[in-house]
Structures are given as structure tokens and as C-alpha cells.
Subunit: 264 residues, 2 copies
Amino acid sequence: LKNVTIGVFDSGLGGLTVLKELLLKLPLHNYIYLGDTARLPYGSKSPDTIKRYLDQSIVFLKSKNVDAIVVACNSASSVIQNDINYGLPIFGVIDPSAKVAVENSFNERVAIIATRTTVKQKSYVKSIQKLNPLISIYQQACPLLVPLVEEGLIDDPITNLILYRYINPLLQVKPDCLILGCTHYPLLLNPIRKVVGNELLIISSAESVIKDVEKNFPTPKLSNQDKIKTPQIYMTDESYMFENIYKTLFPEKEVPAVEIVNFL
Amino acid sequence: LKNVTIGVFDSGLGGLTVLKELLLKLPLHNYIYLGDTARLPYGSKSPDTIKRYLDQSIVFLKSKNVDAIVVACNSASSVIQNDINYGLPIFGVIDPSAKVAVENSFNERVAIIATRTTVKQKSYVKSIQKLNPLISIYQQACPLLVPLVEEGLIDDPITNLILYRYINPLLQVKPDCLILGCTHYPLLLNPIRKVVGNELLIISSAESVIKDVEKNFPTPKLSNQDKIKTPQIYMTDESYMFENIYKTLFPEKEVPAVEIVNFL
């Protein structure tokens, strides 16, 4: 049991849903968040471009002396290369969610919503079929959800309409669970629940990745939630939605200062 | 009258609406298009970041020996600095549209839809009030329109709904005209017409900037449209929507090859 410093990286603000789970479940570690808001969104960009952006972000976080990095972005997680030695542990969000899905897929049917790049890369398909090749996987790219979240349209009829259009065809195959394959999507959990009903298991990468981190960096549980440390926040550009989204996630915490960095 | 090479720069594909007007109205020039698809969209990024991206793009286009650059992106046009010598003529899209609006504003009320950055920078407000300080200007930021266009949802009830929500409040002030303050928006002309009706003058930056270019680089009119040259297209990342949008704009032309460049 020892406290370490963990870097949390995302293309923008979606990774804050992962940071929230980390702060709640492993609160004694220190956290440094980096959002690449100057180049977001990643979900419609090519794997080569995302790979370049990820490498630059790892270099930046290493310069801040982190002990490990959580890549809290599905598009970026899908380009992590297992055969490369990054010089420190890198945790992606795809494999942990895939594992939870496989463990809960009793009829061998898994549905996934994700960005266009994650769908096209078949990241979840590969990860799930490595664990159980018999599982049928139904993917839906949802390119409008990230802009809706980044605009704060979380409780809005337009969002409901768009979610219904994306998700309803997936429900027709009667999946065992639905993977939220983008770290922005947990912010839409309520409207997504409206579309899928209360029965379907929803798997959020924010929750799944925690177990991986905990296994490698166990810490004592914290008794007093008030003692949660304030994370250090870096962004590559100003983000007018940061305060809004941070308050949605941490209604009782003070909004930390954001330091703008330009490592390009 | 002499033929020159003109660079056309945009954050992504929206600038193709400007390229189309240039090819139709000044077809004897050569055109080199650069879309910064690796970092789009610009409309939600800060002026400092956009300024850095614009500078890099100008350096790239100069290396291709262009004689002038049309900045076919409102967010990037709003950070062009008049006191800097870029070493070649730079045409932005804001002042030309502002001029057309002032000339047509008989009741001194102008409405503008644009990205969040363009609205926040007050680029049109400043440009219009320099020409006529008595004009009242009503701006509406429309951050979801670029993702809708980039996703090809041009003829879609969701787009109609979102347009109605953005534009209807502007109509209450009975403006003389509506400036489309983003080069993506001309692709939404039909659904915008449905919201505003047939009477309102719609000003597109694509059409307005041509006059500025023509004044500086006059060319003979072309009699045979078939002879329109194929533009050279560079993008900073693959773009799965390029073919689709190019065909919408140029239904009878062959889709040119796209060269991916990485000047970052």
C-alpha cells in the first residue's frame, strides 16, 4: 500500500467521469489530469493522428513525474500499443469494460455505443472476442453525443431524440448489456436509461478501469470523503464547459484552477 | 489579368463552399485547399490556439508557392491580424460579409449565426459597427451545426429542430438579413430557408469573399464550365466525409485525391 501519482488523460472533458471514479474509489493517490482540448474531439480522427497525440500526452505527463497513466478516452485507448514499452504502466479503458461485458453476457450478445473511430477500429470487438469468440457484438457509432455533452445539452429533448435514434436499433437484438464506449457517455446516463429502460446492464468504462488500477496500485480506503484531494488539472486550451461539467460531477467540491499548457 | 495560385484554408471541409464559389466565378486561377481536419473544429477553441493553427497553415501554404490565401473559415478569419505582414495577401471572410450586410440593412438590424468563438470574439459586430455604428446586431452561437454537417445530417428532422431552436429567437427582432457566419452553414441553406422563409436575405461568406479576391486578382470569365481545373487538396488527417461533401457541392465533377500532410 503506497500512494502514487496517477496521470489521467483524455481528449477533453469526458475523462473527468473516470477521474471522479478514481477520486472516489482510490482517493489517497494524487491525480494529474490532462485534457487535450486544443485538438478535441478525437473520435472522428484517424488512428495515426490519435497515436501521435497520445504519444505527446504521455511525454507531457511523464515530465510531471506520474507513476502510471490512465488513458481515460476510448479513442486514445484503442491506439495503445501493447508491444511498446512506454516506460510506465498505461491503463486503457477498453479491456476492462470488455471483461465486464463478457462476464455478464449470458446470451452472448453485447451492444456497444462509441465514437466513429472506436467503432471503426473494432477495439471492443477484438477485446471481447479474445475472451469469448462466440459472443455477437452490435456496434453503433454515435458521433453527435460528444458535441451534445460538451455543449451541456444533457437534459434536453434533442438529446433524447438523438439517443433514441442511435440506441433503439441496438435494442432490437436483445443484448445482455450495453457498453458505454466513450468516457463522455456516463454524463448521459439518465437520458440513456430513458431509452433502454431499467433492466439492461449498462457498463461504463469509468467504473471498469478502476479495478485494473487498484490491482496495481492498492491504497487504503478513505473514511472521510471530505479529504479527497483536489486534482491538478491541465488543458491544452481554455474550455468554457470545464466548470459546468466539473460541477455536474462533483457538486460539493470547489472547482480547481485549470493550467493551460502548450506542448505542441 | 493574370492567373495566380490561391490557397484556400479551413479547419475542415466547410471551406469547400468557398472553394466552390472561387472555382465557379474565378475559374482560371489555380487552387490549393488545406483542411486542418486533424484539429477541427476550431469554433470552440480559444483565439490564441486558433492563431497558432492559422500561422502554421499559412507557412504550409506559402511552401506550396501560393500567391494569396483565402481564409475560408470564420473562426480563423477572426484572428487574422491586420497589423502583421504575412508576406502575401490574406483574405478573410468576415469583412466582406459585414459589408454586404450593411449595404442591405435598411432597418439597421442584422442577425448572425456563427460558431461560439466567432460570436465571443464579436468579429462581425466590430466589422459591421466600423461601417455603421447605428446597426443593431443579434448574434446566436450554433455549436452543433458543424458536427451535423460533418456527419452529413443535412436533410434530417433533427437538424431542422436544432436550426429552429437556434434561429427562431433571432427572427423575433425582424432582422433585415441573416449572415451565415461559418463556412459550413451554406451546406444547410435548404433547412435554414425552411426556418426563415423565402423573404429574408441570407448572406453567405462564401459568396461575399469572392469580390475581394476578384478585385485583387481579376481573371477573364470562362465560357466553358467543363474546363474548371481540379483543385489540389491537402488535409492534416483523413476525412471520411470529404467525398460525400465534395459530391454534394460538385455533383458533376470527379472527386480529387486528398494528400494527407502532417506539418505539426
